[in-house]
């Protein structure tokens, strides 16, 4: 558990990145596909489905059995290359696959039967869609001659999922189903990553075929650009060179594009302060002088001051979510926006881009880097120009410190638990969370330095994401320490997946920041609903340490400051899933806070500020 593993999971050879040396990954995959076709040719649609996953380089899938998907599971019985993790609930399968995708960088696979199996996956698919996480979902379906008849366990899965996938496929032919699964896999990974789905009627999977699936090929209509337009790049470089108060806003797309190295090099070379979005956490080391950590509703005061007062923002791989921007009318109102995104539909969707750079973050950052020297020459400028601004940002760090009180006579502060764990954990430990106050404290008080170490549900805000996401993360990076911060409310939503962590003997530490409430809702009720706490407090909840023991995990209870380090170390050193029930101050609130739709620059630092803004 304390063993030092490579800093980021090695995804070379699995991504679609083309500039690797020597034999391209595609060639290797092609050869392996040919070998498989020769050694054990597929004879049914179901075997084609499994073969397509093998040909795509998938290693693991998360699923739950059921009637209409049984032929595919039967074919899986013979696969030596794929490991199946049986989850307790399909929602757990989708979140585990999602986290696996975030950490490994390649599509996570989840599988379920028709009807309720498929609808239970939907939350996780929608979650992956909002956060652009690579994922493929395979769902059983009633036989094609029953489709449309309201047959047992029939749901229009393509219809239900279409709004939350990049594309949902309905397979109708045993000969083509394999390549359709391959295409769905490739599409999930191509360009802006995201979820795809293939619906698999039982007669199609049971049907015979002699067609051998090839390696995955993306749809011919889907062609995201790699390089940004050179003129726009030059113009953007000029804007940066002429700026007085520039910032880099690094989004989740930087991590998705494996562009963290390029981003770090760029920001350091030109000495531009870096703000991340929440999904962008880890793209830039938070312990670096240029880091202002993350901005938005509960972002740091200094990040929100900088993002409000900047005059030139290099925003990369971000969709300007409302939790980041607050009121768009007051968002970075002095700033020219350079927007780098691989999805052109994100350009000027929420915030107008003055310099649209449509392309892959890794490539565009290199293009920009190449253009900077000429831009500085033309403007008779240099990174020295930003010195005063950098100083201002540093001053803000002193003015708005992320501190909290730890009075001995009051219950445990959640921030302290997170901060101590961050100190004690491995540098490359992966943190996953549920959704709510605990998620904010985890992201604020853990120090992140590496990409793919922060795994959370951002856009959809799915309570219950924590328990299964830690499973997916651990299986994607078995050599890295995995910690899940959860809330008591979130934990209860998917607690059944703890049985999977025990069964698979996963060395994961769960820390429940337990305030016996849906704390974020309670905080809003106190702030904006006159303290009318409707359905936010739990009059009774289980004792989570004992619940953990009942599941076969190790349970700990943490109540006072003196035992924080000791309990954390005990939980960390337990070889298997451990659950720490940390009883925290139920009155603690998350600050800083920009109220929903508010002005980022007017973030509240305390409750009484809320009345003044």
């Amino acid at each position: 558990m304390s063993e030092q593993a490579p800093v980021s999971p090695d995804t070379e050879g699995e991504t679609t990145d083309t500039d690797t040396d020597g034999q391209s990954p595609a060639e290797t995959l092609d050869e392996r596909a040919d070998e498989r076709a020769e050694e054990t040719p597929v004879t049914t649609g179901a075997q084609s489905v499994i073969r397509a996953l093998e040909n795509a380089g998938a290693e693991m899938l998360f699923g739950v059995q059921g009637g209409a998907i049984m032929p595919v599971y039967d074919a899986l019985y013979d696969s030596e290359e794929l490991t199946h993790i049986t989850m307790a609930h399909e929602q757990g399968a989708s979140h585990a696959a999602d986290a696996y995708g975030i950490v490994s960088g390649k599509p996570g696979v989840c599988m379920a039967t028709s009807g309720p199996g498929a609808t239970n996956l939907v939350t996780g698919i929608a979650d992956a869609s909002m956060d652009s996480d690579p994922m493929i979902a395979l769902t059983g379906q009633v036989p094609t001659n029953f489709v449309g008849n309201d047959a047992f366990q029939e749901t229009d899965t393509v219809g239900v999922t279409q709004p939350v996938t990049k594309h949902s496929y309905f397979a109708d032919d045993s000969d083509t189903v394999g390549d359709e699964v391959g295409e769905a896999f490739a599409l999930a990974d191509e360009g802006r990553q995201g979820p795809t789905l293939v619906d698999l009627p039982k007669d199609v999977t049971k049907g015979e075929t002699e067609v051998q699936p090839g390696t995955p090929e993306k749809p011919d209509t889907y062609n995201p650009p790699t390089e940004a337009d050179a003129d726009w790049v030059a113009a953007a470089a000029n804007a940066l060179a002429e700026a007085e108060r520039p910032v880099v806003l690094s989004g989740g797309g930087v991590i998705k594009a494996d562009a963290s190295d390029e981003l770090r090099a760029f920001a350091k070379e030109y000495e531009i302060p870096v703000i991340t979005t929440m999904p962008g956490i880890g793209s830039f080391p938070e312990d670096h002088d240029l880091s202002l950590e993350w901005a938005g509703m509960h972002g740091t005061g200094y990040a929100n001051m900088a993002i409000t007062n900047t005059d030139c923002m290099l925003a990369i791989g971000t969709r300007f979510d409302d939790r980041l921007t607050g009121d768009v009318e007051t968002f970075a109102p002095d700033a020219e926006i350079i927007h780098v995104d691989i999805d052109e539909a994100e350009i000027s969707k929420n915030i107008e881009a003055d310099y649209p750079l449509v392309g892959d973050a890794k490539h565009v950052l290199r293009q920009l880097d190449d253009a900077m020297e000429a831009a500085y020459d033309a403007a008779d400028s240099s990174p020295e120009r930003y010195a005063e601004w950098r100083e201002q940002c540093t001053e803000w760090k002193d003015e708005y410190p992320m501190t909290y009180d730890t009075p001995d006579d009051e219950p445990l502060k959640p921030q302290y638990v997170v901060e101590r764990f961050s100190e004690l954990a491995d540098d490359d430990a992966i943190v996953t969370t549920g959704v709510g106050q605990h998620q904010m404290w985890a992201s604020q008080f853990w120090e992140f330095t590496e990409p793919r170490t922060w795994v959370s549900s951002h856009g959809l805000g799915t309570m219950g994401y924590g328990v299964p996401s830690a499973i997916g993360a651990k299986l994607a990076a078995p050599d890295q320490e995995v910690v899940c911060f959860d809330g008591d409310g979130s934990f209860l939503m998917t607690v059944q997946e703890l049985s999977v962590a025990v069964r698979e003997d996963l060395d994961v530490t769960y820390v429940i920041l337990n305030n016996e409430a849906v704390g974020m809702v309670r905080q809003w009720q106190d702030g904006f609903y006159e303290g009318r706490r409707m359905a936010s407090e739990y009059p009774w909840i289980p004792e989570f340490d004992m619940l953990a023991e009942a599941f076969g995990a190790r349970g700990f209870r943490l109540e006072d400051y003196d035992s924080v380090d000791e309990v954390i170390e005990k939980a960390r050193s337990y070889d298997g899933p451990a659950v720490v029930d940390a009883i925290i101050d139920p009155a603690e609130n998350v600050y800083p806070m920009v109220p929903s739709g508010g002005d980022n620059g007017l973030f509240a630092l305390q409750e009484d500020h809320l009345d003044d803004i």
């Binding site: 279409q162 650009p225 007051t330 109102p333 000027s348 449509v358 003015e399």
Partner: protein
């Protein structure tokens, strides 16, 4: 409640001078400027396969784009269908709609037609049959044809621009209109310009930057 951090009160902080409008566009704070909606015709080539219509129409509904009409029909290529989508949106919404449609996997290409493009729709109007000669005369005025007639009702077919069709329906009002069936617009660029099923190759920033026209 507890929690909270030290630091200057919101009123005591450095403030920017600028402002954006509700569309996220930087504006002069003194002059409030917003884009007015305009009508745009999007000619869209899609793969001729099941589910495409629902995928496109669902996109418009979930992103709250205001559709005036949507027609689907075959093209000279049996594997390709054409959707003609008429929307009314402010400029940023039109650009957004084009880019969102272009992202859909079965969509081959999306082009906005020139404002002067030829646009035609067909309407069938069923009116009372009491005055067949008068109905005929009005139909003639709009180059229409009587396609069905009985003692009680007459059905007239008229083709033309949306404005002409509107005017024709108004003119038939005098005969008591029983039913109106309109197709929505079919549209094609003037001159030698064509939009055929070539794979889209250019989705670069340059094309997104040139806002008003797309070709």
């Amino acid at each position: 409640m507890t929690g909270g951090m030290p630091g200057p009160h919101p009123d005591e902080r450095m403030r920017p001078e600028g402002r954006r409008n509700s569309q996220g566009i930087r504006i002069d704070p003194e002059v409030e400027a917003t884009h007015q909606p305009r009508r745009a015709v999007l000619s869209t080539l899609v793969k001729h396969e099941p589910g495409v219509l629902s995928e496109v129409s669902a996109l418009f509904s979930r992103r709250q784009f205001n559709i005036e009409s949507l027609t689907v029909g075959a093209t000279d290529d049996p594997e390709v269908a054409r959707m003609t989508i008429v929307i009314e949106e402010p400029e940023p919404g039109i650009e957004q709609a084009k880019k969102q449609v272009r992202k859909l996997v079965p969509v081959i290409s999306v082009e906005e037609l020139e404002p002067q493009a030829v646009q035609r729709e067909l309407v069938l109007v069923k009116v009372d049959g009491a005055k067949p000669d008068d109905v005929n005369a009005v139909a003639d005025m709009y180059d229409g044809n009587v396609v069905d007639a009985s003692a009680e009702a007459i059905t007239v077919e008229i083709t033309g621009s949306a404005q002409k069709v509107d005017a024709a329906i108004e003119a038939f009002d005098q005969f008591t209109v029983r039913e109106v069936v309109r197709t929505g617009a079919a549209a094609i660029d003037r001159g030698a310009e064509t939009l055929r099923a070539e794979r889209r190759t250019d989705t670069t920033a340059a094309s997104t930057a040139e806002t008003a026209t797309d070709d």
